[in-house]
């Protein structure tokens, strides 16, 4: 190839590409010559080297912490449990929406309107409402957050066979299910209880509440916190039991919503038609609401039976759900799933 051919102003003839395609030979070789495709000798750059490791393995608490950390950090960053994007976005939405009353309290403090404060500020009814108000929190936020979280927590271990990753290691079934339960419950607590605490804090900050006010209100605050924990435990138990009998994330999620809203709707219909409230005992939300009303001391909306009935129903629901969860997790295989 001479210099004229490589000069910038030289015409594009395609000759160079043809040379590459056909080789640099003249093409005048004997027709019966055998042509071999030349196989370039590639250098071996991969050297398989086994590196020994002599470090110490940490005890049980560290293994359990790793499960918890894997699930919790997965909400915030990559490299841990891959929660789906809709789940992460909805948790953010529910978190921000749950802070609405805190924001309004701050606003009422800034505006200085007592009417505004009586609507949104900390009171017995509003503390109850932050955790157990049916609309919008227990229609639009909390059951949906729970459904999105529990959907794949155990079922995807069945689906992908990742249960073998846990049980072929020194993880007991109790630790496995316990840490999964705790991680799902803690994420819900972030949405329900952290916003609840921030709401209380907003009142203190916006109105300069002193120790006397805080000590006065604190029992109510604790009662609301306890009701929230009860709500989280109940939704998580039912949701995880559904997740443990499934191999996908859709059924457990939709199943939890069906149970929460289905039982509530059925009980409401029966109450409206026959003026009988007893069917609320099969509704997880209503049982928690009834117990929560009794704990916080707000006016009860369930008049025909004692709140202790609801407490017993809640214990029974949780016991049944945990039994299903335990028996299904006990049957999860290591050698094949």
């Amino acid at each position: 190839m001479n210099e004229d051919e490589t000069a910038p102003e030289a015409p594009v003839t395609g000759q160079g590409r043809m040379d590459v395609a056909w080789g640099a030979n003249t093409g005048d070789e004997h027709p019966e010559d055998v042509q071999h495709a030349s196989t370039p000798q590639s250098g071996e750059i991969f050297e398989q080297l086994y590196t020994p490791w002599t470090g110490q393995l940490n005890p049980r608490w560290m293994r359990n912490w790793s499960i918890l950390r894997h699930h919790l950090l997965g909400i915030f960053k990559k490299g841990h449990r891959p929660w789906t994007m809709p789940t992460r976005i909805f948790i953010l939405i529910a978190f921000l929406a749950s802070l609405a009353d805190a924001g309004m309290t701050l606003l009422s403090g800034v505006v200085g309107s007592s009417e505004f404060h009586s609507l949104f500020g900390v009171s017995r009814d509003n503390l109850y409402g932050h955790v157990l108000g049916f609309f919008p929190r227990n229609v639009l936020y909390y059951p949906l957050v729970a459904a999105l979280l529990v959907g794949g927590v155990i079922s995807e271990d069945r689906q992908h066979g990742t249960s073998a990753l846990y049980f072929s290691r020194p993880i007991s079934r109790f630790d496995y299910v316990g840490m999964k339960f705790l991680s799902v419950a803690l994420i819900q607590a972030l949405v329900i209880l952290v916003t609840y605490a921030l709401y209380f804090l907003a009142e203190v900050v916006a109105f300069g509440r002193g120790w006397a006010w805080m000590v006065d209100i604190f029992p109510m605050f604790l009662a609301g916190m306890f009701a929230g924990i009860l709500l989280i435990i109940t939704y998580t138990s039912i949701g995880l039991s559904l997740s443990s009998v499934s191999t996908g994330r859709f059924f457990p999620g939709i199943g939890l919503l069906a149970i929460v809203f289905g039982t509530k709707t059925l009980a409401s219909i029966v109450k409206n038609l026959f003026e009988r409230e007893i069917l609320y005992l099969i509704s997880p939300y209503d049982c928690v609401a009834h117990v929560g009303q009794a704990l916080i001391g707000t006016q009860t909306t369930y008049d025909q039976y004692s709140w202790t009935y609801s407490l017993v129903a809640l214990v029974a629901m949780n016991a049944l759900a945990l039994y299903v969860l335990a028996s299904r997790v006990a049957s999860m295989e290591v050698t094949r799933e």
Binding site: Y50, S66, G79, R169, P170
Partner: protein, 336 residues
């Protein structure tokens, strides 16, 4: 290094109600590579679960790396690496994070686990793909990632369940060479359960053969092969009379056209064959000792036990079908 067996069981029995999955197993697995063979339903999975301490044996004793399988399951699972047969990876995670998490589940510090994950993935040839999502991996890459998960803590014993199953030729070769590097280069022990006899033979020097929960054979492959020694001859003319003559003399003969394999019975086997050929006027054009493969050995052992397994394909049948086919006629089986 001690000569103590890494896995030892004494009269190990596991029963599920009336069904006996493991029947009085006395097994000694030495250091090095050992193949665990057996048909579907032979008890391989139950054996693995029992030695991992995941299920309690009905009776008998056992130890893995010196730890009691009844009471020290946690210690055992902390010191072995288990590579499951089936998918055990989250398809939405990167390989590096999946391997790191598997190390954390063993109790490794997250930073240490991350460093080891890099080393383990590099060792299994996945160094360039470690930040790719597992969902986009081929079967071979998934197998390699599972192996990395199993060896992240540098276990003394690797239990690999069908490590080369479903792999193409190149990936299979790499998996075999990797296991060989672990055994011969890194001096680690491997217990390899597989249906692929060739692969077992290339990695392992010992085998354990289970059949319907009982121990059919155990020992060095070379020693066991001696029970299936044969002389192979290529005959020109008079093959049928020669076959008949050898059968009349009490030899066990397998014939395929002009090729015959005669069971080795003693030092005079060769001279007896030559004499028989001379008597019937047959020409022996070639004669050599036939080197049995592990599959031949497996068939011979099954044959000795009275089970008519036809080939390794029978091993891959469903458990129900396998039982029906290979049961002795006295037990109502034998029909394909």
């Amino acid at each position: 290094m001690t000569d103590e067996p890494i896995i030892q069981t004494t009269s190990l029995t596991k029963a599920y109600g009336p069904h006996i999955a493991l029947d009085n197993l006395n097994i000694n697995i030495p250091r090095g590579a050992t193949g665990l063979l057996g048909q579907n339903g032979a008890g391989k999975s139950t054996f693995l679960k029992t030695i991992l301490g995941l299920i309690q044996a009905t009776s008998g004793e056992g130890s893995v790396l010196g730890y009691d399988i009844r009471h020290q399951g946690v210690e055992i699972r902390q010191r072995i690496g288990y590579m499951p047969e089936y998918d055990a990876l989250n398809p939405d995670m990167d390989a590096i994070h999946q391997v790191r998490y598997s190390g954390e589940l063993l109790g490794m510090n997250p930073v240490v686990a991350m460093n080891r994950a890099h080393e383990a993935l590099q060792f299994v040839g996945m160094g360039e793909q470690r930040y790719r999502e597992i969902g986009s991996f081929s079967t071979g890459m998934k197998q390699a990632t599972k192996l990395a998960c199993a060896i992240i803590h540098d276990p003394d014993l690797l239990i690999a369940d069908e490590p080369s199953n479903g792999l193409d030729m190149k990936a299979r070769e790499f998996m075999i060479s990797t296991l060989n590097t672990m055994v011969h280069g890194a001096n680690r022990s491997v217990l390899m359960a597989s249906h692929l006899m060739d692969d077992v033979e290339r990695v392992c020097e010992n085998i354990i053969l289970l059949h319907k929960g009982t121990l059919a054979a155990q020992g060095k492959i070379d020693d066991l092969k001696a029970i299936d020694r044969e002389i192979e001859i290529h005959v020109w003319g008079g093959a049928t009379p020669l076959e008949q003559r050898l059968l009349d003399q009490g030899f066990k003969v397998r014939r395929e056209g002009r090729v015959m394999r005669i069971a080795h019975t003693g030092e005079d086997t060769t001279s007896n064959i030559l004499q028989a050929a001379a008597d019937v006027g047959a020409q022996i054009r070639r004669m050599h000792e036939y080197e049995a493969s592990l599959e031949d050995l497996f068939l011979a052992i099954m044959d000795n036990l009275g089970y008519s397994v036809k080939s390794s394909e029978d091993l891959l049948r469903s458990p129900v079908e396998a039982r029906r086919v290979d049961a002795p006629e006295s037990l109502g089986g034998g029909a394909a």
